[in-house]
Assembly symmetry: C2
Homo-oligomer: 345 residues x 2
């Protein structure tokens, strides 16, 4: 993928969003505008060769020409590249955390060509119940989202659907707490490896109406659930299929609604009890998944304040600015740079 | 395995407990005593050859000599052998159901030698929430348990820990309702196929003290859970390991406590709200697993009334009696035939 945006602006930053399964590079100008972007499958678990040389090779493969053309341009990175399995480990920083905290605790790696790349740390939250929680990569997306709107920076709840969804509390520009939910991984593991997937056909899709209905049944089951009921309600994915109360093609959508519904039930309970009234609820994530969450939220009578696209480049820009790698004017909040911000219906 | 019990009693029944992964045969006398028992790995998913001939071969392999020695002895079977993937399908019967209901809806298969074997059906319960639930095999164990104690037959809650645990309501000698929990399968699938298993060492065991502590932390987390919190609490299996708050060897025990705790939370809530006060709580299942549940129940301040061993042979005997295959006197409730019934501590 190589999208080059026509612009007369000068490049000011090479930003790397480096995850488990993909590497994305952004050539950015001094106002957080994206001049060009590229992606490869060279996530940290899929490098072209093992060890540090694999990271070098993946980086050179994706944007060696940028590095050559702009030898003095700063390069920053965030995501799993800073994990224990990454290029260099950037240990978690504790909440509360903002872009300045991330910059102050960045790890640094020096390339063979002598370029120093700061890598953002993840964030650790110690919940009052004594159970710690961690994120790595989402803190960069949050920094990007908050740069887009000063109201959100003051106070917001950010729901980030995914393999390990995050519900993040933001106050005074900082991440003050968060909870992870294994929703996406539970869905994938149960569908692929448990009895529940056996009745799901691999070669047929539910009609949109059947999909909606099965998803809604899952959401309603979650709304009716008492504490501890999920392991029982999961089994219904099988019995609804065995008894043909739901078409086989719909079973995955019941399971999806049930799991997302449980996450929403828990996340919204925290939103209602632990956040100020009228706290904006933002959704950040894959657009298709966000639509699913928006449908689920509607079942709870909740409309998200906004659904954001990929805020990682903007977050990496904020991280670079906080690290002193950009002219100081660039660090201030400007207009939204992603075209993908949309108001929720 | 071949245990032959010295007895002068005459054989009256060959009872087959035929599950997914094992086949157990019992030579029983006219008072439900076990004269001999045998087991093989020829469960319905592991037959010596495909199709009906595989069932014939497995049966002949396990107890061909019994069949030859007692050509007129009745043979009955229960468990997954009656499922859609079994020898012949015995479709589910609806609650309420007792041994007579099972006998009245038995499927029958005729062996090559001309012997007719009644196979017990499973049971389907239509819960008030519109979600159906099913069991197959447990209904036989329940019939066996109720034959051991007339008080339990009148009113009991039977918890059956396992891959798909069952919490069963018994009233007036019949199964009147039940809920399945995917607890055992969730544990296995998450440990083997999810991120949660990655930090669990395959080659080291927790000390008994560490195991107890981690299990108790999981139970307490379940006790503190609000609706929908499980997908978040599961993630703590990872974060407790990442942050070294729990030794890696303990993580599986936290996960076990968390999942069992959720099942207990839900099952006990139903016991308290939907059953008469002072309803006996019986545990039936693998003794090691039952010990885990007993420890979990203690965290909830609950002591099970009794823990039973393998009640399937006695249940198959009740099924055979209800089917009219035994002298009528044999169908009455007698003393406990399994030596494994123990009072809980």
């Amino acid at each position: 993928m190589d999208h080059t945006v026509t612009s007369s602006a000068e490049p000011a930053l090479i930003a790397l969003d480096w995850g488990t399964s993909s590497l994305r590079g952004f050539l950015m100008d001094g106002e957080a505008g994206i001049l060009a972007e590229r992606a490869s499958a060279h996530g940290i678990q899929n490098l072209p060769q093992p060890g540090p040389a694999g990271f070098e090779a993946a980086l050179a493969g994706l944007c060696g020409d940028w590095l050559d053309a702009y030898p003095s341009l700063p390069v920053v990175a965030g995501g799993m590249v800073g994990s224990a399995q990454g290029w260099v480990e950037a240990p978690y920083v504790a909440t509360p955390a903002d872009a300045a905290t991330l910059a102050g605790h960045a790890a640094r790696v020096k390339t063979a060509a002598g370029r120093v790349i700061p890598i953002a740390p993840g964030v650790l939250h110690d919940a009052p119940d004594g159970i710690p929680d961690v994120m790595r990569g989402e803190e960069i997306q949050i920094a990007g989202a908050l740069a887009e709107n000063a109201d959100w920076a003051r106070n917001a709840c950010v729901a980030m659907p995914g393999t390990h969804s995050k519900w993040v509390r933001v106050a005074d520009g900082r991440i003050t707490g968060f909870s992870s939910y294994m929703t996406g991984e539970l869905f994938a593991v149960l569908k692929t490896h448990s009895l529940l997937g056996r009745l799901m056909p691999a070669d047929r899709e539910a009609s949109p109406e059947d999909e909606d209905e099965a998803f809604a049944i899952g959401i309603r089951a979650a709304q009716a659930a008492g504490p501890g009921d999920l392991p029982h309600q999961l089994f219904a994915t099988r019995t609804l299929g065995l008894t043909k109360r739901l078409p086989a093609e719909s079973l995955a959508h019941y399971l999806s609604g049930l799991l997302i519904g449980h996450e929403l039930r828990s996340g919204l309970a925290a939103l209602r009890t632990e956040f100020p009234a009228d706290t904006p609820l933002l959704l950040i994530g894959d657009p298709r998944l966000c639509r699913r969450y928006t449908r689920g939220l509607a079942g709870f009578g909740v409309t998200p304040t906004a659904q954001l696209g990929n805020t990682a480049p903007r977050g990496l820009f904020q991280f670079a600015a906080a690290a002193g790698l950009l002219p100081s004017a660039a660090a201030s909040a400007g207009p939204a740079v992603t075209a993908s911000i949309t108001s929720a219906p």
